[in-house]
């Protein structure tokens, strides 16, 4: 029997333990610069472009965006260019501004078994070559939803898309859109470059913007579409395009799908097709082996009455501009009867929009979205938060940017649901907040701004455990001042908070919730007296007259006895 050396055995044991621990605790080897452990319970919190880049260090982690992110001027290196991203990225309806991908072309190059959702790419650029999409490149067995992009994706790649490059396995894309500028070659499109497998699907999505066809790999055919370029398998349901397609000559380009071999249902093309060559069609560039149900094209905008190269792929409307508003401002024409206008789509005066697009609109905060007046939109700062109370007043909370804390929650609590704070008249509702901090035990100042001036305010805190209010302790009184922001005088309060103990099992991090607090004014003692009790005119005169009379009597007595 072969003898095992002790040193080698020890090395084997240590290595095995390390591998096992990395499987269960991958973040042990990853010192994320922000808060979080990368689990669904304690996700990594992304609040900067630099932290977004750090995703490459834990491709299985759970990530959420806690604010909009401004990547302007930062050259972004694609994530997961070698191994695939298999975790979760939830944008929580936040926007990534001006993401310029300088390598590989996709924000996340390879994706396998992941969930990516609720993200808006606003502006930005990428150069795609193949299997590349502005947001995600080559995607397998993953769920993509509520993803939107207005990027400029160039490069003329194949199997590339403005949003998604290539979909495989059981990958699904839903409630998403592309509204930027896309330039692609063979089997490319504004939304998805190529769908390969039967389990792939695109549902309730649309494309606007501009699609350019570029001849690079194929001398004649390009099969460029707006929704999908190379539709080799899978299902497309409830989609539309109102994009502009600059189709080249002799390319099988189309208003919706390039090369169609899958199933297309309940979709329509209102694509404006320019520079049409000999084979540009309204619905599909070439119908290789597709199946179709309840699809439509606007003949006028598509500049053709051909749905595809066969017959029966779709119904042609607005021929000769007979009904230009056919797909606009209604929920019944064309495929709309099969669409969900209650939960997913919303009718407008023009083409329908996805209801989830409204989730990306920044809430109206004071001072045009910069309530703390630091020149940066509050929606792009995870250390600033605004909340509007039920009575319409706003309050703003600011923690120092270098505190290592982000404001996870800032909510307004209606005082009428709580006991009366005896002796105090409320001026504002209560604000409840939760901070996530990368350190513990620190003390730092917090600033709150209320959008009006209050007289003699006092900050009162509500202790839910005791079901009673209290003020700050005598050693940590808040400092009140008046500040003018946007021409409006406001009440500003600064006070210190002390971070609590660690809650993380790894490292020293903290989720810290402060007691709900708001402004009140103290009840004043009554005025139960007026003027001086005595010394009215009559009493004063009587006293002096009495004294004078007494003196006169004494004087008379003295005079008589001194004669």
């Amino acid at each position: 029997m072969k003898k095992i050396r002790p040193g080698k055995l020890l090395l084997t044991i240590v290595t095995s333990l390390g591998l096992i621990s990395s499987l269960f605790f991958p973040s042990l080897a990853f010192a994320y610069s922000g808060y979080g452990l990368g689990t669904s319970h304690n996700p990594y919190l992304i609040s900067s472009c630099q932290q977004l880049q750090e995703m490459d260090q834990d491709l299985a982690g759970y990530y959420i965006l806690v604010s909009n992110i401004d990547c302007t001027g930062i050259g972004f290196t694609s994530i997961a260019t070698v191994s695939s991203f298999s975790g979760t990225l939830d944008g929580q309806n936040h926007t990534i501004l001006n993401l310029d991908v300088v390598t590989y072309g996709s924000m996340i190059a390879r994706v396998n078994g992941a969930t990516i959702k609720n993200i808006n790419l606003k502006g930005g650029t990428s150069t795609c070559v193949s299997y590349c999409g502005g947001m995600v490149g080559d995607v397998t067995d993953s769920t993509l939803s509520n993803l939107h992009s207005s990027m400029t994706v160039s490069g003329g790649g194949i199997y590339s898309g403005g949003l998604v490059g290539s979909m495989r396995g059981s990958t699904s894309l839903s409630q998403s859109s592309f509204s930027g500028v896309f330039s692609g070659d063979a089997y490319s499109a504004g939304l998805v470059g190529a769908m390969w497998d039967a389990g792939t699907s695109v549902n309730d999505s649309f494309v606007t913007g501009t699609i350019h066809t570029v001849q690079s790999y194929h001398a004649v055919q390009s099969y460029v579409g707006t929704i999908v370029g190379g539709f080799f398998n899978g299902t497309i349901n409830n989609t539309f395009s109102s994009a502009t397609l600059d189709a080249g000559e002799n390319y099988y380009d189309a208003g919706l799908v390039g090369d169609s071999q899958g199933t297309i249902n309940n979709s329509f093309s209102a694509t404006t097709i320019n520079n049409q060559g000999g084979y540009a069609n309204g619905l599909v560039g070439i119908d290789t082996s597709g199946t179709y149900s309840n699809n439509f094209i606007d003949a006028e905008s598509n500049n053709t009455t051909n749905c595809g190269n066969n017959s029966g792929e779709c119904t042609v409307v607005n021929n000769g501009n007979s009904d230009p508003g056919y797909f606009k401002n209604n929920t019944s024409n064309g495929p709309f009867s099969s669409w969900d206008f209650n939960a997913i789509w919303q009718q407008t005066s023009s083409y329908p929009i996805l209801r989830n697009e409204a989730d990306f609109v920044d809430p109206a905060a004071p001072n045009n979205g910069d309530a703390n007046n630091d020149g940066i939109p509050d929606s792009y700062q995870a250390n600033v938060a605004n909340v509007q109370a039920s009575d319409g007043t706003w309050s703003t909370m600011v923690v120092p940017a270098d505190s290592g804390c982000v404001i996870r929650v800032l909510a307004s609590i209606d005082r009428s649901t709580l006991p009366i704070d005896t002796g105090f008249t409320p001026l504002t509702q209560l604000d409840a907040f939760t901070l996530s901090c990368i350190s513990t035990g620190d003390t730092f100042p917090v600033t709150m701004i209320f959008d009006k001036v209050y007289t003699n305010p006092i900050m009162r805190l509500y202790d839910g455990t005791l079901n009673a209010y209290h003020s700050f302790s005598s050693g940590s009184q808040p400092v009140f001042s008046t500040v003018t922001i946007g021409g409006i005088a406001k009440t500003k309060i600064t006070y210190n908070i002390n971070e609590g103990a660690s809650i993380g099992s790894i490292g020293s991090q903290e989720n810290w919730s402060g007691q709900p607090r708001g402004l009140s004014t103290q009840v004043i003692a009554p005025n139960t007296g007026f003027g001086v009790l005595k010394n009215n005119s009559a009493e004063t005169i009587a006293e002096y007259v009495t004294a004078a009379f007494a003196l006169l009597v004494v004087a008379e007595v003295i005079r008589r006895y001194t004669r």
Partner: protein, 213 residues
């Protein structure tokens, strides 16, 4: 001897001088009081009436069952109705409309309930003393009786009497029972001297009492 001769005349002169001084001071005081009335009016303060209610009006006075109707402090001859008062626009506890009535602060506890029942009463005006002018002299153990609208009589025993400068009245003490486990009764009125140029007294006195069985 010559000095003795002039002493009486000096005293007569002093006497007339005192009379003249007294008249001047009296008129000056009257002018000051009129000024105080003007200041109070400008502040939106309604001066309490000094008209006493009749015994018939006293007996006819009613309130809801659980609210305080009468207050009795036999040791200082207090027998008064209890009106309900809230907050003024300046967030100040309001006062009864007569110097002979008292006011229950309607954000405080009702008699017999947990917490403190807060009742204020006037110390007085420059014309006459108010119903609570004598509460600063109450001794521990003195009984104060509250009769509710439903006829229930509640006896409270004085625990302590404290005086505060107007700028530092302990509102937390006023609005809470002296013993957190026993329903309290806190009485408040003015004391001290009138701040020059104002009509306000510079102190407040609070009587802390608690319910006894």
């Amino acid at each position: 001897m010559r000095v003795k001769k002039y002493v009486p005349y000096a005293m007569i002169a002093i006497g007339f001088g005192l009379i003249i001084t007294g008249v001047v001071v009296a008129f000056t005081q009257q002018k000051q009081n009129e000024k105080i009335i003007k200041i109070a009016s400008a502040d939106g303060v309604t001066l309490p009436t000094t008209k006493k209610i009749t015994e018939s009006e006293f007996q006819k006075y009613t309130v809801a069952a659980s609210l305080p109707r009468y207050i009795f402090i036999p040791s200082i001859n207090v027998k008064a109705i209890v009106q309900s008062v809230g907050l003024t626009k300046n967030n100040q506890i309001d006062t009864p409309n007569s110097i002979y009535n008292t006011g229950w602060f309607n954000q405080s506890s009702k008699p017999g309930q947990a917490g403190a029942t807060v009742i204020d009463g006037h110390f007085g005006t420059w014309q006459t003393k108010g119903i609570f002018s004598g509460i600063s002299g109450l001794k521990p153990g003195t009984i104060v009786q509250i009769q509710r609208g439903d006829g229930t009589k509640l006896n409270y025993s004085v625990v302590s009497v404290k005086t505060y400068p107007l700028a530092n009245v302990d509102m937390n003490a006023l609005l809470n029972p002296v013993n957190s486990k026993i329903p309290g009764l806190n009485l408040i009125t003015c004391s001290g001297s009138v701040n020059k140029g104002t009509y306000q007294y510079d102190k407040r006195v609070i009587v802390f009492a608690q319910l006894v069985k």
